[in-house]
């Protein structure tokens, strides 16, 4: 049975924990709104890019001159996994769920005897993967100094990936991130970046034949790298929004748990206090009767 003093100290400590988690929750809520706005603002560009590339790709895919970024190297022996996680923890299962998906993917590829490399974005993913697959991690992109993810961050990563692709480092590249569904649901997602996959949709011209300037192949060659950068950018933004959403609900739970704990401890404290008073009274009364 803890003493009254111990209980009191304990209650105080849980109270200050609750203050911290509450503050973190509110900060996450504010950041979430910003992240969501950024993701929202980036959507028109990504959607259009996707539509245009989809139409272009559908037209060129069958020709032998199609760019390698689109058709791939014809092999799938060497894989590069881009694992995008957060720079910070305390956000529930956010980082673990991405890593878990990546691990499942990794295990499957390794079982098939493929050559796998990992590129991590965000500190937390690297920490978790380093233990088991440290020798497979080829590079780490540090975004801890980046306050707000910009398109340039995505372009840098895309450049890196393209250079590696051109150097023949890998055949297939897949990115892992959390897709933001809503504040309590984030879906770990794997998306293949290279060879590029785009969904062909009807263009704005209602399927009319476009004129191309310069010709289709040249446009496609120029746009594909941008399309990949855009996909990375979308993934990073979704990830940022998901991270704040996950942190918000994790901290909400923590705050509630702390509240419950305080209630329980307070009841225990009061009970022991009353028990102590009762014992004291009995002793006094017993003493008085003995006289």
């Amino acid at each position: 049975m803890p003493s009254l003093k111990d209980l009191k100290i304990r209650i105080e400590s849980v109270k200050s924990t609750r203050k911290i988690t509450k503050a973190m929750q509110m900060v996450a809520a504010a950041k979430l709104r910003r992240a969501q706005e950024a993701a929202e603002a980036a959507r028109p560009y990504a959607e259009r890019m996707e539509a245009v590339l989809g139409n272009l790709a559908a037209g060129v895919a069958s020709s032998p001159s199609a760019p390698r970024l689109l058709t791939g190297t014809g092999q799938s022996e060497k894989h590069l996994l881009v694992v995008a996680t957060a720079e910070r923890g305390l956000c529930g299962g956010f980082n673990s769920s991405i890593v878990k998906l990546a691990r499942a993917h990794l295990a499957r590829l390794l079982a098939e005897g493929k050559d796998v490399k990992i590129l991590t974005v965000g500190k937390k993913g690297r920490e978790q993967l380093r233990r088991d697959y440290g020798n497979l991690i080829v590079e780490h992109v540090d975004l801890s100094d980046v306050r707000r993810i910009g398109y340039t961050n995505a372009v840098d990563i895309a450049h890196n990936l393209l250079n590696r692709f051109n150097a023949g480092d890998y055949d297939v590249c897949t990115i892992f991130y959390n897709r933001f569904e809503n504040v309590i649901t984030q879906v770990p997602t794997a998306r293949q970046l290279i060879p590029a996959e785009f969904e062909a949709t009807e263009g704005a011209a209602g399927g009319a034949q476009y004129d191309y300037e310069p010709e289709e192949g040249a446009i496609l060659a120029e746009l594909l790298p941008r399309g990949i950068a855009t996909q990375i950018f979308t993934a990073l933004l979704e990830n940022a929004a998901s991270e704040q959403g996950a942190r918000m609900s994790a901290m909400d739970n923590a705050t509630r748990n702390a509240g419950d704990m305080i209630d329980r401890l307070t009841i225990q404290y009061n009970r022991s206090r009353q028990a102590a008073i009762t014992t004291e009274l009995i002793e006094i009364i017993a003493g008085a009767e003995a006289l």
Partner: protein, 132 residues
């Protein structure tokens, strides 16, 4: 015939403009072109240059550094890599742009030299056009 079309200018980070325009002047890779309503469907890449939008009551100018434009009879949209209103385009941004182009030319592999040097020329032309 409609006398306006929907014009949109979007960059990866946000949508910069969405107006009903009467004509849009676009710096295409193979020369400037002006899109007006009922233009035949066209897809072109952009060189660094100035996009000029004429709407019913006002005109607006944006500096774009590249990207592409999609033109259809009823709409024109520009997906710019980077786009800024002309007034906000500073000398530092110009410097960064030409430094980038020079660097790209230096690092370009042999088969990309043509495109890279073209870009350096385009950037220089933009610089002259803006009087910087």
């Amino acid at each position: 015939m409609a006398d306006t079309m929907q014009f949109e200018l979007v960059s990866p980070e946000r949508k910069l403009a969405s107006v009903a325009a009467t004509s849009v002047q676009i710096p295409g890779m193979e020369g400037d072109l002006t899109a007006m309503p009922e233009h035949s469907p066209l897809l072109t890449t952009l060189r660094p240059g100035v996009v000029k939008v004429n709407a019913a009551s006002e005109t607006a100018e944006y500096v774009v550094t590249g990207g592409f434009a999609e033109i259809s009879p009823t709409a024109a949209s520009i997906l710019a890599e980077q786009a800024v209103p002309r007034g906000d385009f500073s000398a530092e941004m110009m410097e960064a742009l030409s430094a980038d182009a020079d660097l790209a030319l230096r690092d370009a592999p042999e088969d990309m030299k043509m495109a890279a040097s073209q870009r350096v020329r385009d950037v220089a032309a933009l610089k002259a056009q803006l009087g910087m």
